[in-house]
Subunit: 234 residues, 2 copies
DNA sequence: CGAGTGATTGAGGCAAGTCAAATGTGGTGG
DNA sequence: CCACCACATTTGACTTGCCTCAATCACTCG
């Protein structure tokens, strides 16, 4: 099913180690660090806004890297409550599992292109090449680090502290020329921070009123005072 | 400093692969799975109740396995708010890092004995033995899985759902003859679940009043109806 | 330029937090 | 062995930060 849909829509297949698209940041090309060593076949593939990439508990057949666009990884409760565990931005690897299935679902936030390799081929490479095995471990470990930081946020920070942390994270990860263009809506931010979209909006309005940030459209944000934002972040 | 204190208090050094203490569950002996392969030296060591094992951001010199007792891993905010990321019970490995430092601090909840090996020797073994490298990865991946589940709990579950989840987790991990002896106090439980100790206590009282659990002392709990607890867990 | 979705703002409610007091309990020394 | 003490837990009364529900506003994109 997934394979069919991939084959039907694949737009480009290449031997990795070839040139990397402009959206992939060179110093953080985690995928290349693996595929370059072992000559794995990487395929490019695109998803539309809100399209599912894989579901929770689905077999983990592929490992992905965002080329352009943005992805949300999340879990759902039976009544629809959602917790987004991470946002994946250009250059990020996602969907890497040590076990057989995906622990979270993944969806494109906006139209998104990914590069992907078969999980089985990575596993095989890791069995031969210790460098690859080490890389898989460190990628999982940095996801764990993020999750540990996020548990602190979700369990113990106030709404304003959460929003401040979020803004500083996004500023670090996607600011260009001091401005960030958020790909996600207020509901996504709320579901990432364990808040409602209204609470996120109120916190942003308050930061705007205090001159800590500026808007040019709801999703174009300029941080005017990172120091004060850090102070609000506990 | 750490090394000194370790040397001063070490009570037993052995080549691993020897017999395992009775408190370590045989089917989940993650440590043995590693050390058995490469003949690493494991040392036993004990900590008193509330003693720090390592601090946040401290160099990760050792990897630990609980032999007996219980350990909490946590992060602190500057004003003292605490988030416990995990409890480590007999058989569990903790303190395993891919990077140079510990991401969370660790403390003994009660008097605790651990087995430990040098991180550097594990790293070395992983460079030679692909089985070891794979094991390190899967151990980190299962910590990540727990953290992802816990983010959902912290971000989206109600107080009663959190406590129900906690009880089912502890029942699974440390119930003997249908009864569990919790090593941690209500404050630890609250800091694990993102609640206050009072809220934890009220939820437990309510479950007791509904006949879902029974007490013999505040920390000796017997689950009388796991199905109803599952229903409360969303 | 208008429709539709996303964002903001307001008013009121409630789940969980805070503060405080009473009760229970395990550990220890007389 | 038991009485006491220190601390853990429970329970109560009240507060509050965030949520819910609802209405308006403002982009974005046909």
């Amino acid at each position: 099913m997934l394979t069919q849909s991939l084959n039907a829509k694949a737009i480009n297949t290449q031997i990795s180690g070839g040139k990397v698209g402009p959206a992939v940041h060179p110093v953080s090309d985690q995928f290349g660090a693996i595929t370059g060593h072992v000559g794995l076949v990487a395929t490019e593939f695109s998803y539309h806004k809100d399209e599912e990439i894989y579901g929770e508990d689905e077999p983990a057949e592929y490992v992905y890297q965002v080329v352009s666009g943005a992805v949300r990884s999340y879990k759902l409760l039976s009544d629809g409550r959602r917790q987004i565990g991470a946002f994946h931005l250009p250059g990020d690897v996602f969907g890497l599992e040590s076990g057989a299935t995906h622990r979270l679902a993944a969806e494109a936030i906006i139209d998104t292109t990914v590069r992907l390799v078969k999980r089985a081929s990575l596993e095989k490479a890791a069995g031969t090449d210790v460098q690859v095995a080490r890389k898989l471990w460190t990628m999982t470990a940095s996801e764990l680090r993020h999750a540990e930081d996020h548990m602190l946020l979700l369990g113990r920070k106030t709404a304003m502290e959460r929003v401040a942390t979020f803004l500083l994270e996004m500023d670090r990860r996607l600011a260009v020329a001091g401005m960030m263009a958020l790909p996600m809506c207020r509901r996504d931010i709320g579901d990432y921070l364990g808040l409602t979209l209204e609470t996120v909006s109120r916190a942003l309005s308050q930061l705007h009123a205090q001159g800590i940030l500026g808007f040019s459209g709801a999703r174009q944000i300029v941080l005017r005072n990172r120091q004060r934002l850090h102070n609000l972040d506990a």
